[in-house]
């Protein structure tokens, strides 16, 4: 399946602001092995962009390439408005921040000392104030003097996020920020990402947690060496799945064909279980009242009528199941 690279999918901003990230036919190969190929997309300023894909799909390599840690084999990109070239690495890295999956903190140093190192590397003039703000943003001010070696994994992720905030980045790359975290710590990190969105930070988020991507991301891209889809989660659902209504009655209908075929807009239906029916419809909002009237007229005891919602996980699984490369990984 080819990636959708229409204007909307590519994230071009109606406001005229230049995109935070533009990737154009980018490819990275390691010898014979292709990490990712012909990847094109763009991310608007202030957007939270989800980057999904199975293990080995090339997500982290894409982040490392856009973060100037490794050079692309071909293609081009602009990161935070700066063209990705062999010379522009330090300049780009000054304007972005990357939080790897493993926060990589010095365990013998305190939280503040770790942040002081990075504030020094970003040459922050008012380092102490910046560190204070970053710690406050991740709610870690009380642990500032603790050794990083004494912190839980969730707290270390928060320190990693504080570090990523130090240089006030134009684009923040978060690589699996909730990997290995318990639900409470995951919720805290998600709240932080929402906070970043409110501050207008562009976030490039790679994750395996599809419900997280659905909840947090304005748009998502699904990568499996090549880019399979880019779009808003609801757009992707609509593109891959027909819209449907789920009708549940207390007892099975005597003549369901008569009931459903008499309602305009019902394209097809099928029985799911003993007294539950899945109706494929063009427009659930218009069809639902008609179906309700038909059911009442037929004397059915209606328990519920609701629109069937396909999750982003359904979209993802539909794409990946169709992909023989992914199943081999």
């Amino acid at each position: 399946m080819a990636a959708d690279t229409t204007t909307a999918a590519r994230g071009e901003q109606p406001s005229g602001k230049p995109p935070a990230l533009v990737v154009d036919h980018l490819t990275k190969r390691f010898g014979e092995r292709t990490a990712f190929e012909d990847v094109s997309f763009s991310v608007a300023q202030g957007e939270v962009f989800g980057f999904l894909g199975p293990n080995g799909a090339g997500k982290t390599t894409t982040v490392r390439t856009l973060g100037t840690l490794i050079a692309p084999t071909s293609g081009s990109a602009r990161v935070a408005g700066i063209p990705l070239t062999s010379d522009s690495g330090p300049e780009i890295r000054q304007r972005i921040s990357i939080m790897p999956e493993n926060p990589g903190l010095y365990r013998r140093l305190t939280v503040t000392e770790n942040l002081e190192l990075f504030a020094g590397l970003y040459q922050q003039r008012n380092a102490a104030a910046r560190i204070g703000e970053a710690l406050e943003a991740v709610n870690l001010t009380a642990r500032a003097r603790d050794l990083c070696g004494s912190l839980s994994k969730g707290l270390l992720q928060r320190v990693g996020l504080a570090r990523a905030l130090l240089n006030d980045p134009a684009v923040m790359f978060l690589d699996e920020p909730t990997s290995g975290l318990d639900p409470v710590a995951t919720r805290e990190v998600n709240d932080l990402i929402n906070g970043l969105r409110q501050r207008g930070v562009t976030v490039f988020l790679t994750t395996h947690r599809l419900e997280e991507a659905e909840r947090l991301c304005d748009r998502v891209a699904i990568l499996n060496t090549t880019l399979r889809l880019v779009g808003r989660p609801d757009e992707l659902r609509e593109r891959l799945f027909s819209r449907s209504l789920v009708v549940e009655t207390s007892t099975p209908l005597v003549a369901p064909d008569d009931v459903f075929n008499s309602s305009h807009g019902v394209e097809s239906w099928r029985l799911e279980g003993t007294s539950s029916y899945l109706l494929n419809v063009a427009d659930p909002r218009n069809v639902a009242p008609q179906v309700t009237r038909a059911l009442v007229a037929a004397g059915a005891d209606v328990v519920s009528i609701s629109e069937s919602r396909h999750s982003l996980e359904d979209v993802y699984l539909q794409l990946i199941d169709d992909d023989p490369e992914a199943s081999q990984r």
């Binding site: 010095y106 013998r108 140093l109 040459q123």
Partner: protein
């Protein structure tokens, strides 16, 4: 973006903070030369007032040999850990995601090792001078240890040898994929380098001649 002393300083501060948090790193660094110095020091202390000049020279040369080998040996293991160690503990990638240049990182790492290594070498030298003045009964020994060429050699060669050893160690560290391999290689390189000792000034008439050293 140009070379920045600010970023270099940030790396150096981090290195020194880590040493402060783990004083054993520096403590164990000084341990080996201290052990090696015990025997020559005892020899110096045992020399009586009427011992032949050649014996005095030999004892003083032995002591300086250890003092000059120490700065080459001391930092090798720590330097070898510098880059591969960061990689193993997962801290290298976050560093590389900042504007830090490769040369700033390596120079900061090197300075972080050279400062304690040279410091320890100078302290050992000073300790020997003080001990000789306090405990040696042979005046010629005290005089030989305090000779200008010895002091100059120590001041000049300690940082040079330490720097050379550190760059080799860091070079190995950037290429190695395992900390243990890097440290073994760095130690063996440092030992090989210690064979250069005949080049250093000595009052000893027993040191191997240059031609003999070259023919090895």
């Amino acid at each position: 973006m140009r070379f920045s002393f600010g970023r270099l300083g940030a790396v150096l501060r981090k290195e020194l903070r880590e040493y402060r948090r783990s004083p054993f790193i520096i403590g164990t660094m000084a341990l080996a030369p201290l052990v090696f110095l015990i025997e020559p020091l005892l020899t110096i202390f045992r020399l009586g007032p009427s011992i032949a000049a050649s014996t005095v020279d030999k004892a003083v040369s032995g002591t300086f040999l250890v003092l000059l080998i120490a700065p080459a040996l001391l930092p090798a293991v720590i330097a070898a850990y510098s880059v591969v160690g960061e990689r193993e503990q997962g801290t290298l990638e976050p560093l590389l995601t900042t504007p830090l240049r490769r040369e700033e990182l390596l120079l900061g790492k090197a300075l972080g090792v050279v400062v304690p290594a040279v410091g320890i070498a100078y302290i050992l030298f000073a300790v020997i001078q003080v001990c000789a003045r306090l405990f040696a009964s042979n005046a010629a020994v005290v005089s030989a240890l305090g000779q200008g060429p010895h002091i100059v050699a120590e001041i000049l060669f300690a940082p040079l040898l330490a720097s050379w050893s550190i760059w080799v160690g860091i070079g190995i560290s950037t290429r190695a994929s395992d900390v243990r391999v890097a440290q073994q290689l760095a130690r063996s390189r440092a030992f090989r380098r210690s064979q250069w000792w005949p080049w250093f000034p000595s009052t000893s008439s027993h040191r191997p001649s240059r031609s003999r050293w070259c023919s090895r």
